[in-house]
């Protein structure tokens, strides 16, 4: 397959069209960078490794990239390994967002792992949205790991979404330290079915005075899927505020556990948490059914809302 048709096949599987030509992008198939386009102030240095790539991505201080940078990681074959090592540096006052698609449409036995080290400089703003598109077989082992530092007055937002196709096995491990008045938001939305296994471990450490953090995990499970959420938010400084939100809708023979840990080490800090696990809320269900939706349609809409 030519590189162009591989690009097209990956983007098609993700339900994407060719993005506009003004957007920066990086497309990685297996261990090859098969497409890239840069914009001013954005530097990407990618090296192929035996089973993936190693990339340094940086945005120069003060540069604000308005259009999201598109990244696509994926593999079209049924089996294989893709290991991504990513170092992201956002200079002081820089701003950028990345929309990453991880596309494994035919996976039977694929391991996709990511090791990211992210530095969001003082006053910088960085968002990373990762959408996974898997096939129906669920033959993917996904191991995303990130260590993040958020500087003074900086913002970091990450969203992980896997609601199309089967999960397979996923083990998310993110840890973020937040400086003074920095803001952290980590969101995971995952829908599991069959024998999917989901484990999420997100840690936010609010070290700086006036820093804020939200950890949010919304999971919907069917069949025999299992999920475990370990979200931990620690506040170590005055006026640090945080919230942990774990919601899991469980149907059929699925099972879920949520272990939110909130830790406050300063008398002027405040952290809250909410966790709910259970079948679809009966009042929500009956409200939609009282408008004429069948039970299945109503459940589907409620879950779509939770994951939306």
């Amino acid at each position: 397959m030519s590189e162009n048709s591989t690009i097209r096949a990956l983007l098609d599987s993700a339900g994407l069209h060719e993005p506009g030509t003004d957007a920066a992008r990086v497309i990685v198939h297996g261990n090859r960078v098969i497409g890239s386009r840069l914009v001013r102030g954005l530097e990407v240095d990618a090296r192929e490794t035996a089973d993936g790539i190693e990339a340094d991505i940086s945005v120069r201080g003060g540069v604000r990239i308005e259009t999201p940078i598109h990244m696509c990681f994926g593999m079209l074959p049924e089996t294989g390994k893709q290991h991504i090592v990513l170092r992201v540096r956002m200079g002081k006052g820089a701003a950028a967002s990345i929309l990453a698609h991880c596309v494994f449409p035919n996976a039977l036995d694929i391991t996709h792992s990511m090791d990211a080290e992210i530095e969001v400089g003082d006053g910088a703003d960085y968002s990373y949205f990762e959408r996974h598109v898997h096939g129906r077989e669920g033959g993917v082992l996904v191991l995303p790991k990130a260590r993040v530092r958020v500087g003074e007055n900086a913002r970091f937002k990450t969203e992980f979404e896997l609601i199309k196709g089967r999960v397979g096995r996923i083990d998310v491990d993110y840890e973020t330290h937040v400086g003074p008045r920095g803001v952290l938001e980590m969101i995971a939305r995952i829908s599991g079915r069959g024998d999917d296994r989901i484990r999420i471990s997100e840690t936010g450490i609010l070290d700086g005075e006036g820093s804020r953090g939200v950890l949010k995990s919304h999971i919907a499970l069917r069949d025999r899927a299992r999920a475990e959420i370990h979200n931990r938010l620690v506040a170590n400084a005055a006026h640090a505020r945080g919230h942990v939100d774990c919601k899991e809708i469980v149907q059929d023979e699925a099972a879920a556990s949520a272990i939110p840990i909130v830790e406050v080490n300063h008398p002027k800090a405040h952290v809250t948490h909410e966790a709910s696990i259970g079948s679809v809320d009966s009042k929500q269900l009956e409200t939609l059914m009282a408008r004429g939706l069948t039970e299945d349609d109503a459940v589907e809409r409620i879950i779509r809302g939770l994951l939306g």
Partner: protein, 256 residues
Amino acid sequence: MRAEEKPIGSGRLEVRDLSMTLGGKPVLQHVTIDFWPGHVHALIGPNGAGKSTLASTIMGLAGYQDYEGDVLLDGESLREVPVDERARRGITLGWQEPARFEGLLVRDYILAGAKNGSDEKVRDALLRVGLDPERYASRAVDKTLSGGERKRIELASILAMKPRIVLMDEPDSGIDVDALNRIFDAIRDLKARGATVILITHSLTVLKQAEHAFLFCNGKLIDKGSIDRIGRYFENQCLPCDHQDGRESPFPVRES
């Protein structure tokens, strides 16, 4: 009346000798009511009288299906008919406390029951309850909406559904004066389209929107008639109270 809003036919709802026990307590006792098609009815009475229970039973909600007696729509028993099928036959309910939905957009919520949805329908329904579509259509029906906003959005979803029989449990609770007038307009619209409306209320102003009133106490229908006569309940509370099973009336009895 617009072309698409032609009268929607009968929808004769009858409650026949309905009794229900919940948690060992009789909460409805031998209630019989004929709701007149195309008319506006009001159910009134003190807290715990059984008004919401009756509405839940008519809607067929879980936990309210074990009753004696019957509920009939156009002569047919609804005993075996599940909630969603009752809704498809034209019955719907606005809750005393509407549900919150995380992530479900107002637009999608309103269109849930509409036969063929469009942005126009969403706009129209929101305008009718006095909410600006630009500001509300893309918000979620979640805890960020105020209680009154949620109530109005629920009513908008009912209007978009074009039901034949609408049960509205305390439609005025948490509603400001201006919005209340919109809601009264909506009730008149529903009636104009031939819908049967059943209002549950503690307010004389809402009662005045109705044509027939029913007074409940302790699970019993103790009086019915014109709103003027039954409405005196709001001045006198339970008139001579002989429906308390020998217990003393919790309400002051004042002779008028």
